[in-house]
């Protein structure tokens, strides 16, 4: 009997956000998400250590990312400043994402 081996590598998409995600920059963010979605990643890692502000439109891109890439997609938000974590919590999004200090 011949050997069948199926090897799979986890596909991870990284995005670094710096500065402010407002309604205008959210469109750029969304385009980037759409571009990555084509690749069908298993995980989306957002490096946000230097993110100062995320507006309502920015939050919506995060929801869009899950919808676009499928609910199986694990989203990690790495090194989020306290103000960003608070915004995620107050708007209930912290349940949908993994807010972590380090992505391993």
């Amino acid at each position: 009997m011949s050997l069948h081996i199926k090897a799979q590598v986890k596909k991870v998409a990284f995005i670094t956000l710096e500065g402010e995600v407002d309604s205008l920059s959210a469109r750029e963010f969304q385009k980037e998400i759409e571009r990555l979605a084509v690749e069908g990643p298993d995980e989306l890692v957002l490096l946000v250590e230097k993110l100062e502000f995320i507006s309502s439109a920015g939050l919506r891109v995060l929801i869009f990312a899950k919808q676009k890439m499928g609910t199986h997609l694990a989203v990690y938000i790495v090194k989020a400043p306290e103000s960003v974590v608070e915004t995620l919590e107050k708007t209930g999004l912290h349940h949908s994402f993994n807010i972590v200090d380090h992505y391993v």
Binding site: S23, S56, A57, R60, T87, K90, T91, G92, L93
Partner: protein, 706 residues
């Protein structure tokens, strides 16, 4: 074909670099469409309308676009404007037309007006942040995203008789420093305290107004403390579709919609329904001396009830009266409630001064008010609770007779009055109190106990503790020489006005608080508890704290420990109500045995079993509920016996006999000090004497036959 290529989404006009085209007349308001925003607004008497566009927070508009005449259909102006930043946009309207108050017209093109259908209002984004009084446009219409991730949430549709309502103020619940929270006074802080609501055992919160209002309205200074007096309760709507930004910790970021929806979603996840206290009887524009914010400048004659001379009818006691039975206003109210039900998953509404909603445009009461009928039969509101405050400030009192279409429930003001009078030991109240514990069949014979929202206290009046600590109101801090607030409080201070060290008086007060809680929780109908009554919250005798943004209104979280006995009592009592379906009948009692248990569904007793004391001087009675009749005999429950002795001496009550398999157990006895006053439901204490029970003076006893 994608929306980008659709011919109706191409600009046809351009002005000041802004591209636009003819819009869609419906829906009213500002709606995001492909590539732009559709604006639509109604005015019957305007001669001209201009859309005014601002970048968020800027003093002056970046564009003003007059609606070309061909964009008007009937009395509706509509336009699509392209390439707007949804998040940064603020918009308003200028309306031109006659200025002739005597004829009901107040047009003034110099004013920029809020959209009555705006979904977010900017301008009062942080509670009591000083506004710019010179702002050309202080209450700014904004857009709201409608793509909140509700996941599987939907309104809970709890049968109304199973609700225990907690009437609360969003800010007052957590603003006191003792709440220990970071974002005190906000939706997000309320969310953090959901475990407290769960522990207390309520399954419904009724929020005092959360529609956008201006806390600075009527701003004065307290003659007692020198602090500002503000519009704290919020019964003065600026916009009906927008949540109060100042109640959101994210209001300054414009995310109040998300924060409120997150709160509702989490309340639902914890089995707690959300009712909104909605104020459709008047607006924040006041009378002829008031500010023009929106309605007055858009179409005064449509939106307000006016006297033949053009003055404002004042059935609300606040200056103006919304013209609710004008077909256009009626539709706005309907659109508004549908929006809150569909978009915010609201479980029901309590209508402030709802009798006004049944008045015709000339102010006369209607026998078949179209607005109330529309709401009763609306397909989108079909599962929402509709609760009327069935009176108004113009003298119309409709408790028991509110036009209901077998659908509306009422704040039962008679329950409040009769329970208070019985509680303080008035003569001749036993008969009335029996009606109240049965769900007021004398008032709602055809409608059932589910029409009766029972309460003893609400935001308007004394707190429960103050009801037993003050004979008179003490409202000097309100700055109206103690002339404001009701005088018919039916309160009794138990022997001393206000705070005292007298142990006997303090014990009696606590007992009276517990007695009142029992009356509320063992009565058929829908009980409503005022925030803080479970921990003895005091307003120091102020019975009209509408303007007090301070400790008079804020829940002191230390009270949960200081008055731990009251909290413990309330918690067990609420659990008891939820554990015993016999207390929550959907229909009136029949006073007979229709399940073959050998006992009628309800029976009344006095000091002798099976005999009531019908003497007018009687201040005591007892009743027994047969558990086999619970929920019309569908579920099995224990026997429940309640003796209420509001006489100043102890009375011995002969207990009705139980079937051989059952014995009486004591659940609560308010004559005893904590912790013996109540037991955990299910852990009731077996009663050695199964034949008589000595009920202490001004005390209530609950027994369980099991």
């Amino acid at each position: 074909m994608t929306t980008e290529t659709r011919i109706d989404y191409y600009p046809t006009h351009e002005q000041q670099g802004i591209k636009f085209r003819r819009g869609h007349v419906l829906p009213f308001g500002a709606t995001m469409v492909a590539g732009g925003v559709n604006f639509s607004i109604y005015s019957a008497a305007a001669t001209d309308c201009t859309l005014v566009l601002f970048e968020r927070g800027e003093e002056q508009p970046f564009a003003e676009i007059a609606f070309p005449d061909e964009f008007r259909v009937g009395n509706v102006y509509s336009m699509i404007v392209f390439d707007l930043d949804y998040e940064r946009l603020e918009y308003g309207y200028r309306m031109d037309g006659p200025y002739n108050p005597g004829a009901g017209h107040w047009f003034d093109k110099s004013k920029i007006l809020s959209d009555p259908y705006a979904k977010v209002i900017g301008g009062r984004n942080t509670w009591m942040a000083p506004p710019n009084w010179d702002n050309v446009y202080p209450y700014r219409s904004r857009l709201a995203f409608e793509d909140f991730d509700w996941e599987h949430d939907h309104p809970l549709e709890t049968p109304i008789e199973d609700l225990i309502v907690y009437e609360m103020h969003v800010r007052g619940f957590t603003q006191h420093p003792s709440s220990g929270l970071k974002n005190r006074g906000t939706f997000s802080a309320l969310r953090a305290k959901i475990p407290y609501l769960k522990e207390l055992g309520v399954n419904c919160v009724e929020l005092l107004p959360i529609y956008e209002f201006d806390e600075w309205e009527g701003n004065r200074t307290s003659p007692v403390t020198g602090e500002p007096l503000v519009n704290y309760w919020g019964y003065s709507t600026v916009n009906f579709f927008s949540p109060k930004a100042g109640y959101a910790s994210t209001g300054k970021l414009g995310m109040q919609v998300d924060e409120l929806k997150t709160l509702i979603k989490e309340l639902h996840a914890n089995g707690i329904e959300v009712l909104l206290d909605v104020v459709f009887n008047h607006t924040a524009e006041g009378d002829h001396r008031g500010n023009t914010i929106s309605f007055r400048g858009i179409d005064n004659k449509t939106y307000y009830m006016l006297t033949p001379e053009g003055y404002y009818f004042n059935f609300s006691g606040t200056g103006n009266t919304l013209n609710c039975n004008h077909p256009v206003v009626r539709n706005m109210v309907l659109d508004c409630l549908r929006y809150w039900a569909a978009e915010y998953h609201i479980d029901g509404f309590r209508f402030d001064l709802a009798a006004i909603l049944g008045r015709a445009q000339d102010g006369s009461p209607l026998s078949n008010p179209p607005l109330l009928e529309s709401l009763a039969y609306d397909p989108i509101l079909a599962k929402c609770k509709l609760i009327a405050e069935a009176w108004d400030a113009g003298g119309l009192y409709q408790v028991g007779s509110f036009p209901n279409y077998d659908r509306w429930a009422e704040w039962n003001g008679r329950f409040r009055d009769d329970a208070r009078q019985f509680l303080k030991g008035d003569e001749g109240k036993v008969g009335l109190m029996k009606e109240r514990v049965m769900g007021s069949p004398d008032l709602y014979s055809m409608r059932g106990p589910t029409a009766s929202v029972n309460f003893i206290t609400c935001h308007d009046g004394f707190t429960l503790y103050d009801l037993v600590a003050y004979n008179e109101k003490h409202n000097y801090a309100n700055g109206e020489d103690n002339n404001d607030g009701g005088n018919d409080n039916d309160s009794w201070n138990c022997g001393w006005e206000g705070e005292t060290d007298d142990e006997g008086i303090n014990f009696l007060r606590r007992k009276q608080v517990k007695n009142a809680l029992v009356m509320l929780m063992v009565s058929q109908g829908v009980p409503m508890l005022l925030m803080g009554d479970e921990v003895g919250r005091t307003q120091h005798g102020n019975n009209n704290t509408y303007c007090q943004d301070n400790e008079l209104n804020w829940l002191n979280w230390d009270d949960q420990h200081t008055n731990a006995d009251l909290f413990q009592f309330a918690k067990h009592l609420l659990r008891f109500r939820r554990d015993h379906p016999v207390l929550r009948s959907p229909v009136h009692f029949q006073h007979r045995d229709y399940v073959g248990s050998g006992y009628p569904d309800i029976s009344f007793h006095g000091t002798q079993a099976w005999h009531g004391d019908h003497d007018a001087s009687s201040r005591a009675f007892a009743f027994m509920l047969c558990g086999d009749h619970a929920k019309q005999g569908i579920v099995k429950d224990s026997m429940v016996y309640v003796a209420m002795n509001m006489y100043w001496d102890a009375l011995s009550f002969e207990l009705p006999g139980l079937p051989e398999t059952k014995q009486w157990h004591v659940f609560a006895n308010t004559a005893l000090a904590s912790p013996d006053d109540i037991h955990a439901p299910g852990a009731e204490q077996w009663l050695e004497n199964q034949h008589d029970f000595l009920v202490g003076p001004r005390s209530v006893v609950i027994l369980v036959g099991k």
